[in-house]
Subunit: 238 residues, 2 copies
């Protein structure tokens, strides 16, 4: 087998058409204190009983994005959720059944939107704190790490939170989200000064209700500013 | 074929192992005025005679990054060049010979380093101004556009130029590189003020030689600052 770009002889080409590919979804959520990831427990070999990222082989007539959306919907019942392709993982021996490359996607969702759909395999799905994830099936630890790094880079370059926080939130909740993603404590005064200077938040002139401590002010994202920052990017030097 | 994550029956799994995958490299260069991309003219079907991105099917026992490096080396003779994976493209009908998904990489190289290696297929390779690329084979226009967008985002978030400019360069040359990538005119005074304030450049206390106009000062990148910015990112609001 020699050559490149069509110089391979047709008689040799069949040996290349023996691979499969899959999608794997890294679905992040936030419960108010921890950054979490949705994992499933495998019910069949290979890696039976191991925790794994939700994923599946891509059907021969299915586009990649469609496959990632299908896996997410089968697992959570959620449609029209933002999924971003992060990277293809294709180490030769990453799958025991043959050559399978996988395309990793990540997604941010509100944990409260997550519904177990009893008819699906999702009974075995559950949220795990990212910091406490153990050994996963396949190369899924590597995939999770890559997506987590991508998310950490993202929070410094574009706003996040819209997909992860409730519609109304306090500055403390927003800071906790950033701290959970960055796995780092942030200076409260500095964080507030920076985030408020961006005109990213609308002060709702409302206070929290039903809390034991002194109620804090509630904010929501200014959708226009938020989307402008997503498109343009910024540097949030935390 | 039902199920997910190993719930597919083994008797059905063979139907998934009928795909191939390839790598395609978007190799950008800069000739002092235009941003260019290295294309090859296809010598065999499909798309015989059409210009295309250099790429190849991945061998069954070859890792993805290795395949991308192999294609680049076969084409240019260059090794140890930075290649970044950008995206997997997997539309169902993107390849006439069967289901082939391709993983796109991009690379930045100095055009002067490019050597046609006569023993390879590279005789048919040449540099094309990105702004003048016509219809390419397969979905290669989409792949080129995606990599170009990625490069445009990159220049706003991290320094570029180290891989594209000669070791010593003038501020005008650096500005021309940015203008070529962004496909936009930049204000000279504003550009210089911003780039000099970053401590990214070392003033060599040398002037250009052998130029007809008044010789300009020569600079080189401060490697430490450059790499710190690459790692940390910045917002270069041009």
């Amino acid at each position: 087998m020699t050559g490149i770009n069509g110089y391979i002889r047709m008689s040799e080409i069949e040996s290349f058409f023996k691979s499969a590919f899959s999608v794997d979804n890294v679905i992040f959520g936030f419960d108010g204190s921890d950054l979490k990831v949705l994992l499933i427990q495998r019910g069949a070999a290979p890696f039976k009983g191991k925790w794994a990222l939700p994923g599946d082989l891509v059907y021969p007539n299915e586009n990649l994005d469609t496959a990632a959306e299908r896996v997410l919907e089968q697992l959570t019942g959620l449609r029209d959720v933002y999924l971003e392709q992060v990277k293809a993982f294709g180490a030769v021996n990453r799958h025991p059944l043959g050559r399978v490359i996988t395309i990793a996607y990540y997604s941010l969702i509100k944990i409260s939107d997550f519904l177990v759909t009893p008819a699906s395999f999702a009974q075995s799905a559950s949220w795990h704190a990212v910091s406490e994830v153990g050994e996963l099936a396949f190369d899924h630890n590597e995939i999770l790490d890559t997506c987590l790094k991508s998310l950490k880079r993202k929070v410094r370059r574009a706003p996040v939170g819209f997909e992860l926080l409730p519609p109304k939130f306090t500055l403390t909740e927003l800071q906790q989200l950033y701290e959970a993603i960055l796995d780092d404590k942030l200076d409260k005064r500095n964080f507030r000064k920076k985030i408020l200077s961006m005109n990213l938040l609308l002060d709702l002139n409302e206070l929290q209700e039903g809390v034991a401590h002194r109620p804090a002010k509630l904010y929501q994202f200014d959708r226009d500013t938020y989307e402008a920052f997503v498109a343009k990017g910024f540097s949030f030097d935390l």
